[in-house]
Symmetry: D3
Subunit: 278 residues, 6 copies
């Protein structure tokens, strides 16, 4: 069966279990993983970038905010079809990486080498949040506010999150709440400059999340005003998994990342190897 | 609906209303527009280049010759489908740009910000020539002369033009004239080293032009000899819009650009930002 | 007819008729051919790399081993459809190149300029081995050994070969021998760290070869031990074209190349023109 | 007077007054400042890199730890001689930047445009720490521990600091304390893998600091054990400016930054302009 | 004798004898000369850029305005010492190039190959203007207006010229006129945004010119208003070589070039070889 | 003491003990050594390139021909002064590398990690040829033939060698023989297209060799005709260390390398990390 053209974007939220691991994770990412990844998918990935996660804002924990980075790919085809199974070299992926990322418990690591695809479907069933790896369309599906924003309008503080509704809630029901209760509320707040959302293509890699959303603010204080203070009067839905907005279980039903406008490494054009500081 | 694979080349002829605007247009192109464009379409454009327009040769005006540059893209998909509508950031595109390019009158500019797609369909109905933005196949459709030419044969003076036949003329009728009267004439001139043509894919963006053509010469003097002097005995068709060859209304039924062999900026690989002269 | 999305990898084995030609072939490749090639296929080729052929190991001649380089492309579409026929410039391809590569006899060269596609289908019918140009799937079809190998496992000595079975042997019959006699034998040798194979997509360019195979070793001595010494007890098939393993006619039914792990030039990202030594 | 060859490294510690400013400072750095800087000094700067500051570790505040980044240049000549005074374009440097960096008070900003050199000598006399801009030799002057460390020894958690001794303390006296009390203590701790120090070239730009030092650890926990816990028994010198080690006034007599091994942008080779996220 | 550190900038004004030669000159520059040049001086040139000459403005001819480009180098050392004499390969420099540049008469060309240094000292004594190749300090020596101009102040129309005073006029005398009559006049015109000047380092390569100057305007119309119209009342000096300002012999005592803010090719970082248009 | 400006070129001849080591040496060079080296000397090295050694021609062994590559640096300063002693990280340089390069015996290797400078002064006193690491002027000192050769004259087969005269022979005496017997002989051979030589700057790193020389040919056959056959009548000097020309002890008094025109990796601009083949 021939490979189909299927341009998609994928989003990986890389978390950090503790600060003792940040430079170790960076070392693995830049010394091994970028090079392994480019080697493997260069012919069918058209963009591969790392975006630094901004520090967790006040009360960001209840939104499942990750601390390390967003890894983004643009694919020309679906990399999870039977055709694509054989890899000439497998990625160097020691189990420690999952510990550093908070996908497996800190005390349960052996020196196993994993294959990347197994690694990227870890977590979720072990008390720790799942590895967030979602495929989405190349263009956002819905645009609720700010479509005329340009680079001359200044820097943006971007809140991106992926959500799923609790077990037993129909997506139509959840979306009705999101589109009729939540988004209109944010849309009318003057601090919110942009609102975008798309459904996640769950069929690609069985991602546990259902929808990705992005809202932009002037900075963490205005985010806090909007997402924490102004949301106190959004009525708690029957199916709420936590007491406060976003009413979803942090890390399991919602993961968030705070971003600025540019990648800190556009790997296909900027990576040059492990050139250390002098 | 899934995006279809549709490799296409697009051609934009950037004109210049007067010399007072050349450096202003360059400033907008290189400081804002290249970066905006790469940000937007990097994942599905495989080449994006700027080619400097050579100065208008003698009598070039009657061929609708533009003065600034050719902007060329190679697309992997059609960027004008409903799927592609939402852009995370819109291009910074002040209305002045259209004035500088000669697509709107010099005295009718406010400080409006446009979206790029509207801007790129301006002109044509306001007394000024339309913005020339044509999609064509990746490979030329027809090759009439010079298929064995290589880089070792020396530099080329390339005349590229896009045409449409006057209102009321059937394309079959127009092409009959072009293929039986015009091209054979040029083909037998020894100064002409290459003749290529393709039909424009009007369905993509409703381009007003119908066909693109390229002929190569040793330089502007040999172009003039061929296209101006030698064409005096090409019989004027009934439907002629001007007295002389090309018998098409300059700027409206024909736009031309004179090019040399290479891009002055292959933006995806060469752009580095707005690095000014010291 | 619209171009279809057809991601493929192609492999060209560049041989060398004698050492007097090595720097001449390098000169043509780097001063003319890379630039011509990028000019032509940049919009639809996603990777274009040169890998240096390691020196022919002891007894490598009977495996049809080439001496110059592997040229590898990754295509987004089939470059041999009617759509793609017209090239704006044809490649500069003097007939000498085929002489240097050993595809035409040393003494039968005129100063003809060839087009690239004719050049790349030369040889085979003139007493000299055919130009080896094969299209294969982007991912290997079958993986017999070593799927968990990573970059941390050290450098690899890679034997890649393309084969066809002798005239009159059914591919099913040949493959049965390969899969049941040959590969199991290699698989059990501890020196062999990786075994991969795919069928060649003969329909693309009428490649005379049928299958590509890759086996990895610690170096030429361990290759010799495995491929020459250990294969002495692989029974000679009825259809054998030579007395010893691989039992295929060197250069005609088998061509081999020995490679290390990386390209010496990833042309799309690393080529900078003909910058000579000082 | 002719420019003298004077290879030097310079270090700028970029702080952040509050998190509301992080993405604003990044926007200015990457959209304006990198391009302005390359434009200005490209002909005589051989390396220009940004290193992300790791988050402030526990008790890091008392070491004057900055939160944003290290900006590093390697110069071929002294950029502060009379010869170098005229700049064709001056850097775009709004006063807000100093507010964001914590060099001027938050509430005392007008919309003045500064020249870069004035900006880089701000702070210190207004209740806020001085802008840390130090010139040092290209090679470290003294190497106390770990000279055989290689990239294969793993990632490093690097503590870099610049210090000056309090008003009235002779540098010989201060250094005696540093070299005889402090460094030997650290040298014997097994967690410390590397110790390096140089004197700052104060004559270049009148830097208020006297010495730069670098010590490497396995991570922030081992840094804390060494620099906070293990230093409790380093006797407080008579001239101490604070109660605990490092006994220097945080932000004024000591500034620190925590770094990992690589730059997040090697600007001369990796900067591509303001390419935003889609 | 050891090479001395001598950072310098050099300026070459490339003219064009007629439009029939523009694409031929571009072909030679980009296909041969950039590559030859980088090969030769890469180890001791830190920047090498081409800036497009803007079209000659109205009355620009009397200022000796060139039509092709500015070639700029930044050198780390003087390339004209005895040490530097031997070149491994000499530049490919056919005599035609001097004809295309207008340095030798159109009808007096044989097929001689020149060495680059001879070529670059051609003209001046044959009725045609000399090849303008001047060495200047890295930083401008004098800054008369606009020192606080930044990139945010918008695009600049830059008039750069090199002058010498007529035979028999002392430079002190000429400069007195320039500094007391000419520059103050321009300084008070509101259209002039920047005035810079330096003396040429004639000792390096015996350049016939004495001084370089740069003035910036909003565009060619404001340049014309300032340099042609407003200068009518600058008193003609006794030694004037032409009737009107600049009172210097066009092409011999003054050469001018009109530039915008950026290079069209920063050759060391952007050149990729002769990649032609498709 | 301040670093002096001292532009120099250095040449390292990398040999190969046996073919089993070629891909291992390449792995170490490209996965570790290039990155270590750039990290260390990027601020003061202006070019760093690898040139592939062409295969040893017939009888090349008696000229001490190496088999792997030429490593070339251009330095802005002397990297062997006391100032430059401290390195932040030392190069990863396992002793195996010296074994692979044939600088220490095959059977005498432990798993020691060396520092690079010790490694680069190995060999010579252990029965094996010394590591050839020579500093030479940036420009060749003497040019005997072919100074007008350009890239248009075609590819070059370059023989580069470093020599020293036997113990007890004065350099004046040796050079007299070289300049009066050897070079004139080669100069008159029509196959020799270029002759260049410089003295090695032995004071920099105590290089055992005295002089470097380069002669160019059409290929290995013409080299053999010139250097082996035509030299039979060069009288053997009294001090000859071997029976035939070059009369110097192979590997100890002469080392040779055969090169083509371009680098296979210009590391500062082309290295991208360890991107493996798929």
């Amino acid at each position: 069966m021939a490979a189909e053209f299927k341009p998609m974007r994928s989003l990986i939220y890389v978390n950090l279990a503790k600060e003792d691991y940040r430079h170790k994770l960076l070392h693995w990412l830049h010394r091994y993983h970028v090079q392994d990844s480019i080697s493997q998918f260069d012919p069918y990935v058209s963009k591969y970038a790392f975006y630094q996660a901004l520090p967790v804002p006040q009360d960001g924990e209840r939104f499942g905010t990750v601390k390390m980075q967003l890894t983004e790919h643009y694919w020309l085809l679906n990399p999870f079809t039977p055709d694509t199974k054989v890899k000439t070299l497998t990625e160097y992926f020691p189990m420690d990486v999952l510990k550093w990322q908070g996908n497996i418990p800190d005390d349960n690591v052996n020196d196993e080498q994993l294959d990347g695809d197994s690694a990227r479907s870890s977590g979720g069933n072990n008390g720790l949040p799942p590895f967030m790896f979602a495929f989405v369309p190349v263009w956002w599906e819905e645009d609720f506010k700010g479509s005329n924003r340009t680079v001359e309008d200044g820097p943006n503080y971007r809140w991106q999150c992926t959500i799923r509704y609790p077990e037993g809630v129909l997506v139509e029901e959840g979306d009705k709440w999101l589109f009729e209760e939540v988004i209109p509320k944010f849309k009318e707040m003057p601090e919110v400059t942009r609102i975008l959302t798309s459904k996640i293509m769950k069929e690609v890699n069985n991602c546990p999340y259902y929808r990705v959303m992005e809202m932009w603010f002037d900075g963490p204080s205005s985010w806090h005003k909007c997402a924490v203070e102004n949301t106190k009067d959004i009525k708690k839905p029957d199916w709420a998994s936590q007491e406060s907005f976003p009413y979803l279980e942090s890390g399991f039903e919602i993961q968030s990342i705070f971003l600025t406008d540019i990648a800190y490494s556009d790997n296909l054009t900027q990576h040059r190897g492990w050139i250390t500081m002098r």
